[in-house]
Amino acid sequence: MTILLDSIGMDSPDPSDTIDPQTHTTTIPSSAGIPVGPRRRVRGARLDDRFNVLGAAAAGIAVAVLLFGWFTPLSGGVGWLLVAYLTFIGFYALLVSFASDWQEVKDRVMAVLLASAGVLLFGALVFVVAFTLVRGQEALPHLNFFTQSMELAGPLDGLDVGGIVHAILGTLMQISMALAVTIPLGIMTALFLNEVGGKFARFVRTISDAMTALPSIVAGLFVYSAIIVLITHQRSGFAAAMAITVMMLPIVIRASDIVLRLVAGNLREAAYALGSTRWRTVWHVVLPTARPGLATAVILGTARGIGETSPVLLTSGVTAVVNWNPFEGPMISLPLQVFDFIKSPEPNMIARGFGSAAVLILLVLALFAIARVIGGKGPGQLGRRQQQRVVAASARDLQRITVNGVRRARLHVPPSLPPSDLNAKETSS
């Protein structure tokens, strides 16, 4: 216990007023007096390297400018970029080869290629998100966009009439219904896979893995023909929620399964060794340890579920009014609303479509940020607050054990014994 206190560091309450620090702490040898030289930088780039990159970039841009418009009749932004990039790679390889051998040239060129793959991918991500947000700016400043439905807005009306409150409400209702099924069912199934086990659990795992391959449109088609055509005979928010559930359930099961598997086995064994039942182990050890990971799994599943368009397209139906009853009548959701808006050729409708897409993506980003804040840590890793709480608890335990131990020792020691014997008991307790 004292080792834990020491390794966690300075912010722990000092227990030395209750116990003797000499006998209870691990001492770390001091580094004072041992000379430490200046740290060598092994990663930074040399001046030559920077010059090579900059020079090759300048050469690439220059060649592309010359080729486009001056020497040859090439045109187009994409082609310009491509020519500039290829020339840049060529010149960079040439510049590096002046000072180094073939192996190093290959290394440098590949490093540039890998970096450009990353830049291209994340450039695309930022661009897709920013494009939606920028195009959505036309519709977003109108407050009625968030407070009205499309009930009274005709196709030719301006952006100051009509909004997407019906789609926002529909999304929230559908995802809540889906989560009400997915969270308990998904986490219980994951617990079944990990804590109970057996032949049937392996079968369940295989089936749920297979279900991650289910195309979303097929899930929608299933709900459409099994629930809508056979039972309810009308599209409803409930049917859409069921389609989203079928999509989300395997994702949540798989992610929770991985998180639960990461819970260290010795924690479980410690609980069993202390005589706790299986259920108590799950409730007091496994679930609290895996809580951030489980929250992340659920939130990421939610982010995926919110963005699902194709199952909702088949099951929820399109409407322009707010529908509070999830079991009757069509109930539109945000992605479907985007899809419906941009089918129209009217510029105002397309602006509304981008506005809805911007709202949708902000929702997903917010969910993602929450997931990062909760689940940025692995199972068993504690935040600052939690660490302080654990340290305080263990300090209390230590005090309880040592102080009470001393007291008990005093009570049981006959008064005739010399005080040195008492000290020996104190240290051993």
Binding site: T189, A213, P215, L221, V246, L249, G307, S310, V338
Partner: protein, 346 residues
């Protein structure tokens, strides 16, 4: 307990054994009965697993059951017929399946180099905070809704890809599938011949599946054993030399498995494809030319107007798609799992 066993063991040699009590205590059973809370927990967890399996089997069984009507009528021609007219009993998925696979293959051409490059960047080049940021960005990209990618594809990418597609079709028309011709064999050059093509849909779908592939590959690459890495460096290898000699061979299973997982997702992608393509029901080899189709877009297009039999035909198409993605996914996860265990044993 030990006393009695000693007595029973030594009874043959010691004549006074009869005086000792034999078998007064029975052996304690080590099998404990689970407590009430445990039994409740077990049965609840078992029920949850049962419900999950029931839901998922219901999807599969229902699909096959409803699809059997249409499959019985169409027979083997379901796989060879290009037209989709269930009312007149001539329908098949040859054209839509061809379109699906074309789009998925183009998506792979875009996605695999990007995914391998990004995965290597994250696992081998980036350090510390940058690496954590990149991993987060990859996860975030996986969560961007497909309708948003579709919007971007329709309103931005299409206009910028058309000049490139025209350039390729002009200079590479000796490669058959880069040719863009009308019915009489005349080369087309106007921009309208290049819109809504399989190429544009493929690029968008490719960007959508990169995150899936990247995260599988990154995990495989980061499991390449440290001993071999350091051995390569100690022999004087450059970083790329080390990657080529150690990381890529160890991560080969991850590359193949990740690619196939992405392929499975690309085959099933619906809404972005549906927004971009203009559906046709013939096999179109010219990937740069307007018009292609996919199974999921077919379902999204036709589910509303379908009669009961038409719905059954759509079910059959969905079932075929599901079976293909299922096979690909299982193969991929078994390849990934095998490569992982191989890396661990070293």
């Amino acid at each position: 307990m030990p006393h009695t066993t000693f007595a029973s063991m030594s009874s043959r040699s010691a004549p006074d054994a009869e005086t000792l009590p034999v078998e007064t205590e029975t052996r304690r059973s080590l099998i404990s009965r689970p407590s009430v809370s445990d039994r409740v927990f077990r049965s609840v967890a078992f029920t949850a697993g049962l419900i999950t399996v029931a839901i998922m089997l219901a999807v599969g069984v229902f699909l096959s059951f409803r699809a059997s009507d249409a499959l019985g009528v169409a027979g083997l021609s379901f796989l060879t017929e290009q037209d989709w007219a269930p009312e007149s009993q001539t329908f098949g998925i040859a054209a839509v399946l061809f379109g699906t696979i074309t789009i998925a293959l183009i998506a792979m051409c875009v996605a695999v180099p990007l995914a391998v490059g990004t995965a290597l960047l994250i696992s081998e080049v980036a350090q510390g905070r940058l690496r954590a940021t990149l991993v987060t960005l990859v996860d975030l990209m996986a969560a961007v809704p497909s309708v948003v990618f579709g919007l971007w594809g329709v309103f931005f990418l299409q206009a910028n890809v058309i000049p490139v597609a025209r350039w390729i079709s002009t200079y590479f028309d000796w490669i058959p599938f880069f040719r863009v011709q009308d019915a009489t064999g005349h080369a087309l050059t106007e921009a309208s011949a290049f819109t809504s093509s399989a190429l544009i849909a493929g690029i968008v779908v490719g960007l959508m599946v990169v995150p899936t592939q990247t995260s599988v590959m990154r995990e495989a690459f980061s499991q390449a054993p440290i001993g071999e890495r350091e051995a390569a460096f100690a022999l004087g290898s450059t970083r790329w030399g080390m990657i080529g000699a150690v990381v890529l061979p160890f991560g080969r299973g991850g590359i193949i498995g990740g690619t196939m997982l992405g392929l499975g997702r690309a085959l099933g992608e619906t809404i972005a494809v549906y927004m971009i393509i203009s559906p046709i029901f013939t096999i179109n080899w010219e990937v740069l030319k307007t018009g292609t189709n996919s199974v999921s877009a077919l379902i999204a297009l036709r589910y509303g107007e379908s009669s009961s039999f038409g719905l059954s035909a759509l079910m059959a198409a969905g079932l075929v798609l599901f079976l293909i993605t299922l096979v690909i996914n299982f193969t991929a996860s078994s390849i990934v799992a095998r490569s992982r265990s191989g890396a661990e044993s070293n």
